[in-house]
């Protein structure tokens, strides 16, 4: 294995070949094959030992290739994924800052628009990614930096969303006389700050009793809070109708576009894309703000105190870190972020109902943080992106494929059974696990395969719909990440340094022995 890696060390011909191949495939064959070539090329940039300038060239090439590809095809999710991965690679690889800024800016401000104009679905996807990235970055302060388990994050989101939804729709006329509602859309900017204040106060009220105790209590109290907010939102339609109960509030006013809309029309952008572009840019600005705040917090007195608490609470206490105050600030900051994003969520969707704010929503956002790497900013954004693409795009496609097979009445052939059986046997042979577990899995898989052979997919139960099993997917991701890679896809820098030190220590000890 080692020799294989070393032999690749200065091999520049593979990326050149792949680049030529993808340049050839893009306009001719397109589809999965072209995407595969571009993807492999990107892989070369990340994993091969080639010079920095070559890596930069490759990244620039993949960006342009995906943009060209989407212009030619209008719908190819692989290009979108590869462009996002290029962005991630550009940010995480060692490269000059000007290059990161130019490529990042190009992808976010030009590449994204090329995708959005080719197919507005990609704009929707990008907005979702951006909103949830901002939320995950807020949760990252609580969970990732301070190490507090907050399971009621969606509750703060709900409070923020309802704050604007009630006053930004006709709903407020139900309990405030005068009929002055909905408020003008400009008010949304004021409501950002109102939502930040209300959610921070809620965080204070919840945190004050719970944060004095061990971390597990916070988890349970926030879990309860999530449920309480849902119950209240569901039932506060009597005696005075404030939240409109389970029906939810709609339509929520959006901010006026004014000159922005005129400008887009001047460029010939179709009307229905205006709000999408507006929200995309708005959330991008917010993310930039959040990232700056995050970085500054990270290096501040509080950021260091949070890390100290996260790593060892008792030691931090002994060093004189004020526990309650420090934890409260983390908790309230996270809550405020969530509340502010709630306002955007309400106006972007123009619809708010209690069902958007379940425990599932909180855990989903936590999976984003856990997947990417607790405490790491790039990691959290990457985690959010991956899982949203998985959930909104890949799972939907699988469901669609399954439904097509169902309608066509596809029958599972014995050949398929044999191939799968061989693969399972191979896996059992290669994996390390106790022999009884192997036998049990083997028998179980054999029985299932035996039943499945000759099975007509037309008789598949209609409840079997992959998109409905998102809990399963997020649960598996959480558990697997916690077992095999608790530091996440892109570990926080502090963790990276710790890991390196541990490795150095181990190797120096090994050298002496």
């Amino acid at each position: 294995m080692m020799t294989l890696l070393e032999s690749q060390r200065s091999n520049i011909y593979v990326p050149i070949g792949l680049a030529l191949l993808s340049a050839l495939l893009l306009p001719t064959v397109g589809g999965v094959f072209a995407a595969l070539a571009v993807g492999l090329l990107l892989g070369c940039a990340v994993y091969q030992h080639i010079s920095q300038s070559a890596k930069m060239l490759i990244l620039a090439f993949t960006t342009i290739a995906t943009c060209v590809g989407i212009r030619l095809e209008t719908h190819n999710d692989w290009y979108f994924i590869i462009m996002v991965l290029t962005l991630v690679a550009a940010v995480t690889l060692k490269a000059p800052n000007w290059f990161k800024a130019v490529l990042g800016g190009f992808i976010l401000l030009v590449g994204m628009f090329i995708f959005g104009f080719a197919n507005s679905f990609y704009f929707e996807l990008a907005i979702q990614i951006a909103i949830y990235s901002a939320m995950a970055l807020g949760l990252n302060i609580v969970v990732g930096q301070a190490g507090l388990l907050d399971l009621g994050y969606a509750a703060f989101f709900a409070i923020g969303a309802y704050t604007w939804a009630i006053f930004g729709s006709a709903q407020a006329n139900q309990f405030i006389a005068g009929g002055g509602f909905p408020l003008n859309g400009v008010w949304i900017y004021a409501f950002f700050f109102i939502a930040i204040i209300t959610t921070a106060i809620t965080g204070l009220l919840i945190g004050l009793p719970a944060l004095r105790l061990r971390g597990d209590y916070l988890a349970v109290v926030t879990l309860g809070l999530g449920e309480v907010v849902r119950v209240v939102a569901n039932n506060l339609n009597k005696p005075v109708n404030i939240t409109n109960g389970a029906l939810g509030i709609t339509p929520v006013t959006r901010p006026p576009l004014g000159w922005f809309s005129d400008m887009l029309s001047g460029f010939g952008v179709p009307e229905q894309l205006h709000y999408q572009i507006f929200f995309y840019l708005l959330v991008l600005i917010i993310i930039a703000l959040i990232v700056v705040v995050n970085i500054n917090l990270n290096n501040s007195r509080y950021g260091r105190a949070w890390v100290a608490i996260r790593e060892d609470e008792i030691a931090a206490k002994a060093m004189g870190v004020p526990m309650l105050q420090t934890k409260l600030i983390a908790f309230m900051t996270g809550a405020a972020f969530s509340g502010a994003m709630g306002v955007i969520f309400a106006s972007q969707r123009t619809f708010v109902s209690p069902e958007s704010f379940t425990l599932l929503a909180s855990v989903v956002i936590m999976s984003y943080v856990v997947m990417g790497g607790m405490g790491s900013i790039q990691g959290v954004i990457l985690g959010t992106t991956t899982l949203i693409i998985l959930n909104l795009d890949i799972l939907k496609n699988i469901s669609g494929q399954l439904n097509t097979w169902r309608q066509e009445g596809l029958v599972i052939s014995p050949l398929f059974t044999i191939v799968v059986a061989v693969l399972i046997l191979l896996g059992l042979w290669l994996l390390r696990m106790p022999i009884y577990a192997k036998i049990a899995i083997g028998i179980l898989a054999g029985l299932i395969l035996f039943r499945l052979t000759g099975y007509n997919l037309a008789t598949l139960p209609s409840q079997l719909e992959p998109t409905k099993y998102e809990r399963l997917i997020f649960g598996i991701i959480l558990v697997l990440m916690m077992i095999f890679r608790p530091q996440g896809l892109i570990p926080e820098q502090r963790h990276q340094i710790e890991d390196q030190e541990a490795r150095l220590e181990a190797s120096s000890k090994g050298g002496k022995a």
Partner: protein, 328 residues
């Protein structure tokens, strides 16, 4: 208004008692695991749900009146199967997920807790998947036997009896009393129980005394899960509509009950369950009366949460718990 309250009071207290025993059964699972590992097992509410689903399935296939199975026998089979399967699921989760993380070491409570949340979601959707393949629906209805549905009233034969209780509810009380008594005996009088208490007190020292902590932890999960599983069958008798997501609320309340009684303390969990259920049923019935229907029965779920918050403010160690300093 007072008259209205007094009239229904005995019935409400009785209902609270029945509910309280189920909460106590679930709370024990939380408190036992917390005792040995200092871990809040969020997946316990779903282990409980597995028990309820097993109960539904057993009664679906054996409870058919035409087949002439004795309903009591079917109930016993449901209890045993639910205990075995739910306990097994809990044990499997420990073996597959929590143990590898424990073995890796580290003093973070965050990582194991996130894992239990993940396991909780996995159990929910795996049950949903199984039910989807099996019956193509996952909202299940518990088919009770007529015996459990018949009602006893006191005083007998009155037009408006003071209290009335279903046989099913009596089954709940009796079964949970037996299980709770059995558990107390197991933990306090047997060798396994001594070992569990030893591991809970000090895992390292216990291992020096010839106890294998991993085995004991595994058994603790089995026992806690079995209690939760039987609790699930009892829940299905009381509230016959069962879905894979039914465990969440009772689980949250049972955890509150465990904290209320003093987490890590077995009798505390039982007391906590009974007290919390009383507060909840009383609140559910009297909130609308007292507030003139401004606050409806729906707000009864909020009561458990308020209790939890007040408790953490004023008596975080719980009713029967002792203040302990954290181990370093």
């Amino acid at each position: 208004m007072l008259e209205a309250i007094l009239q229904v009071l005995p019935q409400v207290i009785l209902d609270g008692l029945v509910l309280g025993f189920v909460y106590a059964m679930i709370a024990l699972g939380y408190t036992m695991v917390y005792g040995v590992l200092e871990l809040v097992n969020f997946a316990h509410s779903d282990v409980f749900m597995v028990g309820a689903v097993v109960g539904v399935e057993v009664f679906r296939y054996m409870g058919n009146p035409d087949w002439g199975w004795n309903p009591w026998l079917v109930l016993l089979i449901a209890f045993v199967l639910a205990a075995l399967i739910a306990g097994g699921v809990n044990m499997l989760a420990e073996r597959m997920a929590y143990r590898p993380i424990r073995m890796r070491g580290g003093n973070s409570t965050l990582i194991p807790m996130i894992t239990t949340i993940g396991v909780s979601f996995i159990i929910q959707d795996v049950v949903r998947l199984i039910e989807a393949i099996w019956h193509n629906q996952f909202f299940l209805q518990f088919r009770s036997a007529p015996v459990f549905e018949s009602v006893l009233s006191f005083p007998p034969g009155a037009d408006f009896p003071l209290i009335s209780i279903k046989i099913g509810a009596i089954v709940v009380i009796v079964a949970s009393l037996i299980m709770l008594g059995g558990l107390l005996y197991l933990v306090n009088r047997t060798k396994l129980g001594t070992a569990i208490r030893a591991v809970a007190q000090d895992r390292v020292t216990a291992s020096l005394m010839g106890i294998n902590p991993d085995t004991i932890i595994s058994r603790t999960f089995l026992i806690g899960g079995a209690m939760g599983g039987v609790g699930g069958v009892l829940w299905a008798i009381l509230f016959p509509t069962i879905s894979p997501y039914v465990g969440f609320l009772p689980g949250l309340k049972a955890f509150t009950a465990a904290v209320l009684g003093g987490i890590g303390n077995l009798s505390g969990a039982m007391v906590g369950g009974l007290v919390l259920a009383q507060l909840e049923t009383l609140g559910g019935v009297f909130l609308p009366i007292l507030t003139n229907n401004v606050l409806g029965t729906e707000y009864k779920d909020v009561i458990a949460f308020l209790v939890l918050i007040l408790l953490l403010l004023f008596r975080p160690q719980g009713l029967l718990g002792q203040q302990v300093s954290e181990k370093v």
